[in-house]
Amino acid sequence: MIAFAIRRLLQALGVMLVVALISFMMFRFVGDPVNQLVGVDTSPAEREALRQALGLNDPVLLQFARFVIKAAQFDFGISYQFKQPVASLIASRLPATLELSFVSALFALAVGVPMGVYTGLYRNTWLARAFLTISLIGVSLPTFLIGILLIFVVSVNLGWLPSFGRGDVVDLGGGWTTGLLTKSGLQSLILPSITLGLFQMTLIMRLVRGEMMEVLRTDYIKFARARGLSRRAINFGHALKNTLVPVITITGLQLGSIIAFAVITETVFQWPGMGLLFLQAVQNVDIPIMAAYLLLIAFLFVIINFIVDLLYVAVDPRIRLGGAAS
């Protein structure tokens, strides 16, 4: 078990180093960092002094090492467009994105799993067919389009919910703001969360449905029926538990995707999160923010993956007791 955890940690470290390398190369070789920091009228001598000061004349490997060490301390340099430290920019935007992603994931799970179980168990009812049709639309439509349609119907035509921003937020201290404690904050969360979570919800639903149908065909379910266990014990005990093993993996990975997909939703709803910041960085070629965002997302992915692995082990005794992962 410990060996397993250590191996996974080393793999995670490897992935982080690769991503750091990509970030570093973007940072170092795409465009000239000096040009971005100084005006047109800066003399070549001043530029050279700045190069020296930034360490851009050192061996590349040394620069990379310095980059990694700094990144580990959350120092990603200065944003080209905002002329502010990237770390503080991101820190001020992080709560909004994490809050949105978390609520979306919760929505996706809370709705997707029951819908998947239902459609897996009662395949031929009209409700199951309706769910499947909805899921097809959810999978096929681009996120931004769903957001626009929601705004058009719910905000513009019905006037029920706000269509942009976070509403009133409360500072919990340390710069961590939350919209979960105010009415307007909660109202503002609804549409973006549905938009962001819908795709994952349909994905989870289809996954749970597929797994459920697969599991219900297995011998051990047939044997459980032959032993006269109640439908409930079979469907929600034996079948669901076995279904959840792969569902946990995919859902965990989807949580990472949600954070990344937030870029689109944040744009549609003008949600002041990291995604919006990243998009502005792409539009304005603000490399330090792009590099930092990439690293941060990779870091979140790696952490989520690690937690998923541990959960997986906790659910499946074959891995827990068998020693090696299969």
Partner: protein, 327 residues
């Protein structure tokens, strides 16, 4: 997904359009008798999707012929014509069936032309991803060793991130390298590059898997024995055997590529407003959603939705028809 060992995969090349192009005797008969055709005729939804996809593609192809206006001809558009609603609303103009946009362009025409660009970028990206993915997959599977390790590790790392994020990053880098002035000239290349590079992994994995299976078969051994070069063996002998599953992925990816292009354009890093794609049109129209001119964004939106849904349904059906095990 295990397309790898599906021998019937090959049927994918012939089934959808094969009906009209029968040259050999009995060809039409074979198609009509095949399970693919059977499952096609048994699925009304799939038939509808096929018809819708065909209509959309033809409309896009012949846009200059059927569009009532040329939205890119400055002489034919007038700012005086801006914001006419669709003809069934009050104060409309019969020249603009689905209304006009902020610059006085006919919405129906911009949609037809926009679809052209969306589909063109979609097809080009899919082909680009296919070429890259198939080549790398063949190399990885056939050469093995460190080549295989490097390619597949890159694939693994890339798979951890959503395609849209990869596309955005590549887009940002390309933008930086091209410089702001020349960017508009290369925007299509950049789009195809960024979408293509974010989708190659699936092809590479599938092809590699198939190659590993095929490489141990006797015909490959025989080809080696008569002294053919590895490159010849790969492209002439192994490749035809893995094309079926690749075409299935390509169909599914077409919908994804169209959506990705639309998303990038919507986010403002895709096709510029001067030559709008569906995504760009939605982005432009989005600004007027609150002031009441809903048709500028909703009609392109619905078009994109139907197109994506139809292609997706076709892809879904094709995958299920070729891989009954997946259901």
């Amino acid at each position: 997904m295990s397309y790898a060992t599906e021998p019937e995969g090959k049927a994918a090349q012939t089934a959808p359009e094969g009906v009209k192009g029968g040259t050999r005797p009995g060809f039409v008969r074979r198609i009509a008798d095949s399970d693919i055709w059977y499952s096609f005729t048994r699925s009304p939804l799939t038939m509808v999707s096929a018809v819708v996809t065909a209509i959309f593609m033809l409309a896009a192809l012949f846009a200059p012929l059927i569009a009532p206006h040329n939205p890119f001809d400055p002489a034919s558009i007038s700012i005086m014509d801006s914001f006419y609603p669709p003809i069934w609303e009050a104060d409309s103009d019969p020249r603009f069936l689905l209304g006009s946009d902020d610059q006085g362009r006919d919405v129906l025409s911009t949609i037809l032309y926009g679809m052209r660009i969306s589909l063109a970028v979609g097809f080009a990206s899919v082909i680009f991803a296919m070429v890259i993915g198939v080549t790398l997959g063949l190399l990885a599977g056939y050469l093995g060793g460190w080549v295989d390790s490097v390619i597949m590790r890159i694939a693994d790392v890339q798979l951890t991130f959503p395609a849209i994020l990869i596309a955005l990053l590549i887009n940002g880098v390309a933008r930086a390298m091209a410089g702001p002035q020349s960017y508009d000239n290369v925007v299509f290349a950049v789009l195809v590059l960024s979408i293509g590079l974010s989708f190659w992994v699936q092809y590479a994995r599938t092809v590699r898997g198939s190659v590993l299976v095929e490489a141990n078969k006797e015909y490959v051994l025989a080809a080696k024995l008569i002294g053919l070069k590895p490159i010849t063996i790969m492209f002439k002998h192994v490749l035809p055997n893995v094309l079926g599953p690749v075409l299935v992925i390509a169909t599914i990816n077409l919908a994804l590529a169209i959506i990705t292009e639309a998303t990038l354009s919507f986010l403002g890093v895709g096709v510029p407003p001067t030559e709008p794609s569906l995504g760009t049109l939605i982005r432009i129209g989005n600004d007027f959603l609150f002031s009441g001119e809903w048709w500028v964004t909703i009609f392109p939106g619905i078009t994109l939705a139907i197109l994506a849904l139809a292609v997706n349904l076709l892809g879904d059906w094709l995958r299920d028809a070729l891989n009954p095990k997946l259901r």
